[in-house]
Symmetry: C2
């Protein structure tokens, strides 16, 4: 495939210019916009940013880059949190901005076919008339392609699964410019290696996703939400475990610690009791929602939860979940001028209480302010440490706290990232978590991207 | 790794004898038992059958076989349906018979850790006291390892997913004898390539699974079942689509055509109306089960379903589902001395009615007797053609009918196998279904099993 053994960036850019004309951009401002994500990692400028409009153009770009050994960094909404899209080895950032068509919605099959640049909100707006929804909600209005690449999830994963469970099929441009499809429109299949799941979560290191077939779910007839305060973290988490074991299909169940509740009260003008708190949401028929809420209330009461009240009022619910989504901004508002250093682990649910307690104790013993919030039904939680970007000692302390939490997660059978992914930030934990399986991953990377041009310096190549 | 470039079977058997003593068996009867599965494909004798007792022994076996270029065929309950475990290139069949320990049950994490030879019924018996269950039910009392390797599913997949959704983690001996682990005990993760899903469904061609961490589900407080007869296939399938779109979490919804109902009536001494029929099952709290049943009854009535009656009587339910599971034997009983040639496709649910109608019309126009039954909530159905094993023309006709059905499935975006897998029988459809993605699969096989010793002549190597 390759006609050179050294990188020939100038030649690549010339070739790309021929394909894309003014949709190959080398201006400083556009390159800067694609030089970093929402993480703490330093910016690296790509050599150029490409805006293809269709799969054929992506395939042409990949072929030109392969011939010239120039890295390709696929990019969606630039909302990743661990440096995934920073072009650490330079190269061409290829944005899905102009590939944002909803190709097909098939309500009768409960699926939609979209280009990778479609955002989740865009898709849900288009679905309004169908009675169906795409429930995965990572907070940001991320692109579906980006969410697939990072195996994203969020608050509703406890009920509807993550991107892992919600992608039926893909179209992918492989690193030699071949277009393949994976999966099918059938709900299940037993034919061949599961390439769909291999590309989901591969963070752009194995190919460029050009089309996704996603599963849709019925918009529930009724939605109710509830809040309950607990005397301690343990009681809150035990309530969640019992709800899940009882088989209540909670649609959301989020934990906020005292600091987070304080922040949310201030930022979103609420007057919640300042205590470890669960936010619940239930989906279903009116009778079933009432029954679920009642069972959850009983279980909460058994664990000394207080102030449980459930509501089907849409305004109240929207306010509550907006407050939850704003928890990160609320945290920042606690200390003006600060930035947030985030953590994201997932553990077996039986180890969740001790994991949260340990993370909280670390924060209490530290000179940094921090909070814990979590998608507790999945055993996934986030820490947010407030750091002064001018102070290296803040940064070092946040890293120390996050790494300690992560080591503890691995020690109890958990994972280094529940939903944010590896990016650059967690490469150092790959071998600790996966052991010799990292070598299997490297062999797959080598087999599918022998030139190493897809998002190099990341998963599959390093770590 | 390999110290020879030609296969040296004698040397391998000597080496294995040293490891396994009398658990390396070369008797004719044991080799014959492992020479074929439940499919129509001709038997091929393995050179020997090995019965390791633990992971270390499996790793030693793999190393000896790799050194001598001798094929390894992993085998569980020998209940595969498409020739998966036939040693088409000879070699050593490695049985999981003696690796059937339940290593750990963690009710609070809703997971169990098992060796690959544990069967689903064995696991459910061990779970009784916990209030949890492992719901995947392919019919046969298959091993968990075998079900994982073939990405098995069955009647409950519509509610609980297939093996794809129910395995959290694996331990695998790779083809060079290295032991790796994949996944974790956390419910979700965004770290690294999804090796768990790569091994699930790989039919023993990429490594030997030595341990599985599976998800458990609460045993529902109440179970109800219902039967409903319909004037035609279309009405039955539309009922299913509407139930799924309404968001009713049916635990099972099975379709049986007229021929199947006739067979079931005769075989299981029932007096069901001879018509296209749905069997439903609902899981949940008593109130919720009642509500689901009522909604399903209303939807059925809208599609001219008759005789809908639901029951929570355990004996009645057991009889019904036993009859469903016996449908294959019931079919055979329709024509004494005959054998069954089976088909297994999965299509987008909107194409299910036409797919079933076309399959039925093919049967009606053929000189063979046949029936259609299906896991219709997933768009998955099976044909069973009754053939006289002495008549090559019966065999040829069954193959023609099955292949026609399969071609139609691919034409409407479906898959060549919903749950039985590729084995030998469906290799010829791999490229038709997956196109150039087959080359990606072959590169993965080559990268992970460069000597080609894991279940050779199957998926990833041929097709």
């Amino acid at each position: 495939m390759s006609t050179t053994t050294t990188r020939t960036t100038e030649q690549a850019l010339e070739g790309l210019k021929t394909i894309l004309a003014d949709r190959l951009v080398t201006s400083q401002s556009v390159r800067e916009h694609h030089s970093r994500d929402l993480s703490r990692f330093p910016a690296v400028l790509p050599d150029a940013v490409a805006f293809p409009q269709n799969e054929e153009e992506v395939a042409s770009i990949v072929r030109v880059c392969a011939e010239n050994l120039v890295p390709i960094i696929p990019v969606g909404a630039v909302s990743s949190l661990d440096g995934h899209i920073i072009p650490v080895k330079g190269g061409v950032t290829v944005s899905t901005r102009d590939m944002n068509r909803i190709i097909e919605i098939r309500p009768e099959d409960m699926l939609a076919v979209v280009e990778p640049g479609v955002t989740r909100k865009q898709l849900n707006t288009a679905l309004r008339a169908t009675g169906l929804m795409f429930p995965i909600d990572p907070g940001a209005d991320a692109t579906i392609g980006g969410m697939a690449s990072t195996r994203g999830s969020g608050t509703t994963a406890v009920r509807y699964g993550t991107m892992r469970e919600n992608i039926l099929a893909l179209r992918v441009v492989t690193p030699d410019g071949t277009v393949i499809h994976t999966g099918s429109r059938a709900k299940k299949s037993a034919t061949g290696y599961d390439l769909t799941h291999l590309y989901v979560g591969s963070e752009g290191t194995l190919g460029f996703i050009t089309e996704l077939t996603v599963r849709l779910h019925p918009i529930p007839e009724m939605v109710s939400s509830a809040i309950c305060a607990f005397p301690d973290v343990q009681s809150a988490v035990e309530t969640v475990i019992e709800c899940v074991q009882y088989g209540i299909p909670v649609a959301r169940v989020e934990f906020l610690d005292k600091v987070a509740i304080g922040g949310v009260n201030a930022y979103s003008k609420l007057d919640l009791q300042v205590a470890p708190t669960l936010f619940f949401e239930f989906h279903g028929t009116p009778a079933w929602v009432a029954e679920q809420s009642q069972i959850a209330e009983e279980i909460s009461a058994n664990h000394n939860g207080t102030g449980f009240k459930w509501s089907t009022d849409a305004d109240e619910r929207t306010k509550l979940w907006q407050a939850r989504h704003d928890a990160l901004w609320a945290a920042r508002a606690l200390k003006p001028g600060c930035e947030v250093y985030g953590g994201d682990i997932c553990v077996p649910i039986s180890r969740l209480a001790e994991s949260i307690v340990a993370a909280s104790e670390d924060i209490a013993a530290s000179f940094l302010t921090g909070q814990v919030i979590g998608h507790v039904g999945d055993g996934n939680f986030h820490t947010a440490y407030l750091i002064d970007p001018e102070k290296p000692e803040d940064y070092a302390e946040a890293e120390r706290l996050a790494d300690r939490m992560l080591e503890r997660a691995l020690a109890v059978g958990g994972t280094a990232s529940g939903e944010h992914g590896i990016g650059i930030g967690k490469l150092k934990f790959m071998r600790k978590e996966h052991g010799d399986a990292v070598d299997v991953m490297k062999r797959i990377k080598q087999a599918l991207d022998p030139l190493g041009i897809m998002n190099p310096g990341k998963m599959g190549q390093e770590g």
